[in-house]
């Protein structure tokens, strides 16, 4: 059943406007980060690592969660439009499978986004004349950031499912990631879902922030994800469909 949902969700993304956001949004933090790096080149002595701190300063803090929010909002917007809720809830599918399919699709697009961000990072590095290839650790951080984004994806899907507006959940994501940054600085990052991608990507840090905390990180990811899926299941089965 989940396979059928997944095929449907992938098909809904064909020629979808959301790919524009996918292409364009990551360019802004790349440009801003690179510019910042060049302005402070005297202080930033760790080559690729320094460039990473500047890129993620913008990308992870201000762009990543809202971009995931845009993906999630777009997928639900398709259902909020017209009376599509009536359609998707009257097909022989467990509603939570539909939610799971949307989750997997957003996860896939998020993973592709991280790949695109890496390409931009690499290009920026070459443009400012950094030698050789970026350290493999950066790739690990990007992937770990994607793992950290799992609860954020689930939360954004939950918000966009319940809130008809496109912008409100995206703004929540922006507020959330700034809050996540503050929680990280206070040392409570593992208790805030929006902090997890920042921790995973090692945003704005030269050395690994998660040393020795991998298990706690994964546990937090799992706990928040389960919570948001449980809430989605509750709303999808206990509430009447209200298509407008």
């Amino acid at each position: 059943m989940i396979k059928r949902c997944l095929v449907a969700e992938n098909q809904k993304l064909h020629g979808a406007a959301v790919w524009l956001a996918f292409l364009i949004v990551p360019i802004f933090p790349a440009v801003m980060g690179t510019f910042n790096y060049q302005q402070n080149i005297a202080l930033l002595q760790s080559a690729w690592y320094s460039l990473w701190t500047q890129h993620t300063l913008f990308y992870a803090t201000f762009f990543f969660a809202p971009l995931v929010g845009v993906y999630a909002a777009y997928l639900w917007r398709l259902e909020h439009f017209g009376h599509n809720w009536n359609l998707i809830m009257a097909v022989p599918i467990h509603p939570i499978d539909l939610f799971l399919a949307k989750f997997l699709v957003v996860f896939k697009v998020t993973l592709l986004t991280q790949g695109w961000v890496f390409l931009l990072f690499f290009a920026a590095g070459k443009l400012v004349g950094l030698p050789g290839l970026p350290p493999a650790e950066i790739v690990v951080w990007l992937l770990r950031g994607t793992v950290g984004s799992v609860p954020v994806i689930a939360l954004q899907l939950l918000l966009s499912m319940r809130i008809r507006s496109f912008a409100v959940p995206v703004l929540v994501a922006l507020g959330g990631s700034v809050g996540g940054l503050l929680m990280n600085s206070a040392g409570y990052g593992l208790y805030c879902p929006y902090s997890l991608p920042l921790l995973g990507m090692n945003a704005n840090a030269n050395s690994d922030k998660l040393t020795g905390e991998t298990f706690a990180f994964l546990a937090s990811v799992a706990a928040f994800t389960l919570l948001f899926f449980a809430l989605a299941q509750f709303f999808l089965t206990k509430r009447d469909v209200n298509a407008e």
Binding site: Q11, K12, G15, G82, N86, M89, V91, P92, D240
Partner: protein, 312 residues
């Protein structure tokens, strides 16, 4: 005749307002059932309850012999096609892609898409983006989605809403042909009785969440037999004949008005009137249109008097 849809005491309350109030509905297999009522009468809510899109406050629903509950729901949805409120579609995709999505979700082979496109006459437009479709075409695409997988029950909510006269005509013909073409039982709603007359066999009339009449359309039409007006040369003689037959006529614009009578009895009465020299020159049956019956039924609901016909 097997019932495809049965509801018993079905209720749906929003706060203290009952949108559906004690509905006992029965849709026989293989018919087109017209669900008729003014806007806000509870038609859409009932249809949403039948699809499990909303949960009843009280009462029960049985579809195709299986109770509609959490356990039975998915199995029943597999045999049901629906179009509720307005057609659902993804505007940035082609008609073909839209149907592929629905076929996928319904687990119906994609080969079925050509069949349904043909039924709704959209074969030529299958590769156009649905965003460019007219409302009538979207409505037809909605029907095509509902038809995917040959469901035994089709639930169509105001499928002619917003269509132009030609579109309405086409939709009517399409719906009336469904039982024959696809073997499906159709439950179709409308706020216009006149529109339904041409495509339904069974009707249910609903207002304020209650069913006022349910039965074959022909039975409803029988209620359309109205009073009989007589024009005679000698009213006094005529009245004497009528009184002798136990009928008390009323007077209206120089004519005598009699209650509805059986044809045979009326023929006999006309002969007697002529024989007794009343000078019968005109006899007219005041037929009521279905609209009148409908208005009569829905208006009578607010008055204490019992409505005409087999009120339920």
């Amino acid at each position: 005749m097997e019932a495809i849809v049965t509801t018993k005491g079905l209720c749906k309350a929003y706060g203290t307002h009952f949108a559906v109030d004690g509905l006992d509905m029965l849709v026989p297999q293989g018919c087109v059932y017209g669900f008729i009522g003014p806007n806000g009468a509870g038609k859409s809510t009932t249809m949403k309850l039948l699809l499990g899109l909303a949960t009843p406050s009280a009462g029960s629903i049985t579809l195709m012999g299986t109770p509609l509950d959490r356990k039975g729901r998915l199995g029943l949805l597999r045999q049901t096609g629906s179009l509720i409120e307005s057609p659902a579609c993804y505007a940035h995709l082609s008609a073909q892609a839209n149907l592929e999505i629905v076929a996928g979700l319904k687990d119906v082979p994609r080969t079925d898409i050509s069949r349904v496109l043909e039924i709704v006459h959209l074969e030529k437009d299958r590769n156009r983006k649905v965003g460019q479709f007219s409302l009538g075409m979207k409505q037809r695409l909605g029907i095509a989605q509902a038809l995917l997988g040959n469901p035994r029950l089709l639930i169509l909510d105001e499928p002619t809403n917003g269509l132009d006269p030609a579109g309405i005509q086409e939709m009517r013909a399409l719906i009336a042909a469904m039982p024959r073409l696809c073997g499906a039982t159709v439950l179709v709603s409308s706020h216009l009785l006149g529109e339904m007359e041409q495509m339904v066999e069974q009707v249910g009339i609903i207002n304020h969440g209650r069913l006022l009449f349910q039965g074959p359309l022909t039975q409803l039409q029988q209620h359309s037999r109205g009073n009989i007006s007589l024009r005679v040369l000698d009213a006094a003689k005529a009245e004497a004949v009528l009184q002798a037959s136990g009928i008390t006529p009323t007077h209206e614009k120089g004519e005598l008005i009699l209650p509805p009578l059986r044809d045979e009895y009326l023929a006999e009465l006309a002969r007697t009137l002529a024989d007794k020299g009343a000078g019968l020159v005109g006899l007219r049956i005041q037929t009521k249109s279905l609209e009148d019956i409908f208005l009569g039924l829905t208006a009578a609901q607010s008055a204490p008097a019992a409505p005409e016909g087999k009120a339920v």
